[in-house]
């Protein structure tokens, strides 16, 4: 079962320590997982995220850019469906911050994420396997403290490169921007990328086949 994008929502903030992300509809496809994207300005100290009544998400290994990129991804599996709200919080007020969430179906329920990574270039490679789904969160700035944050998805066909060019809506072919936020505007302008974190969302294991049974004929006495 391949991993598939399901739904998303996001909010951005100025000078805040938490965001409440507007209600969005989580689908009912099997094997669901959620990823939260914290695209901060200065650090990732104390970042926490949750979806609806689920327990809090965990930081996805390898995605925490700390004070270098101020970006981190969190995630978990979920059984929630229908209208849900997500929330995110952190310790230090960020002059600009974007919080986003995406849900996926077809995700492995034992090991939903692997190959987490982060970097400071315009491109980030995420290692995957055919049928998985790769996703990144990117943050950029222009004119000092104007921040853009966005999340995308891409196929899982080996080593997938997610490239966010100067205009943050200009993505590598076959990558799909799923949310985008620029403070005070919905218009993307030329940006200076300062960080990307990414992860591979692992597909659910293929269902085992029904074992065939060899039945010995019953011979009536």
């Amino acid at each position: 079962m391949a991993t598939v994008f399901d739904a998303q929502s996001s909010t951005n903030g100025t000078n805040v320590t938490s965001l409440s992300i507007p209600a969005f509809t989580v689908g009912s496809g099997a094997n669901r997982a959620v990823v939260a994207y914290y695209l901060g300005w200065n650090d990732t100290i104390g970042v926490a995220a949750s979806l609806g009544a689920d327990p809090g998400m965990s930081v996805i290994s390898g995605t925490d850019g700390g004070g270098t990129t101020a970006i981190v991804l969190l995630g978990r599996i979920t059984t929630l469906t229908g209208s849900q709200t997500a929330s995110m919080s952190w310790t230090n007020s960020q002059i600009n911050v974007v919080g986003g969430v995406m849900t996926f179906t077809g995700a492995n329920q034992t090991t939903p994420f692997n190959n987490g990574t982060f970097g400071s270039a315009v491109s980030l490679s995420v290692t995957s396997t055919s049928g998985d789904l790769t996703t990144t969160g990117c943050a950029a700035s222009a004119s000092g403290n104007v921040q853009t944050g966005a999340g995308d998805t891409g196929p899982g066909t080996g080593t997938i490169i997610h490239t966010w060019t100067g205009a943050i809506d200009n993505l590598t072919t076959n990558r799909t921007r799923q949310f985008f936020r620029e403070n005070g505007s919905n218009t993307s302008t030329s940006q200076s990328i300062y960080g990307i974190s990414g992860v591979n969302v692992v597909q659910a294991a293929a269902a085992a086949g029904v074992p065939s049974l060899l039945m010995a004929p019953v011979i009536a006495a």
């Binding site: 909010t11 000078n15 805040v16 320590t17 507007p22």
Partner: protein, 130 residues
């Protein structure tokens, strides 16, 4: 087009919760910006919480339409690279979620609140975006 809806005119308020009463959202509105101006507030700031709910059915049911908060603390925050800056507003903006994406729905209402846990001099408003 933007529509500015005041919640609090400039003045000393709090502690308490101040409501934005249920307000119609015109067709075509696809987002919101919620702004609390703290430029005249004394340092440090109290905890300030902003929240919005939206109704798609003229007020029968309500869903989360966005929110944000800032814990009490100094007005000065650390800038990227280590400097200190003093923002003049606390705000959030969104145009995602089931409420803000229902741009053709004529039955939308929005309501909300600002909560402060100590006396503070602020102005608060929301701006409907389209």
């Amino acid at each position: 087009m933007v529509t500015v809806i005041p919640i609090l005119l400039s003045g000393l308020v709090g502690p308490g919760t101040f409501l934005l009463e249920s307000t119609p959202v015109p067709i075509g509105v696809n987002g919101v910006r919620f702004i609390v101006d703290v430029s005249l507030a004394t340092d440090p700031l109290p905890t300030i919480t902003m929240s919005l709910e939206g109704s798609l059915d003229n007020g029968i049911t309500w869903i989360n339409a966005g929110g944000a908060s800032r814990v009490a603390g100094s007005k000065n925050i650390i800038d990227r690279g280590g400097g200190s800056i003093t923002p003049t507003t606390i705000e959030f903006m969104t145009n995602f979620g089931d409420f803000w994406l229902a741009t053709a729905n004529p039955n939308r209402l929005v309501r909300g609140s600002v909560t402060v846990d100590a006396v503070v001099l602020i102005t608060a408003s929301i701006i409907l975006l389209s």
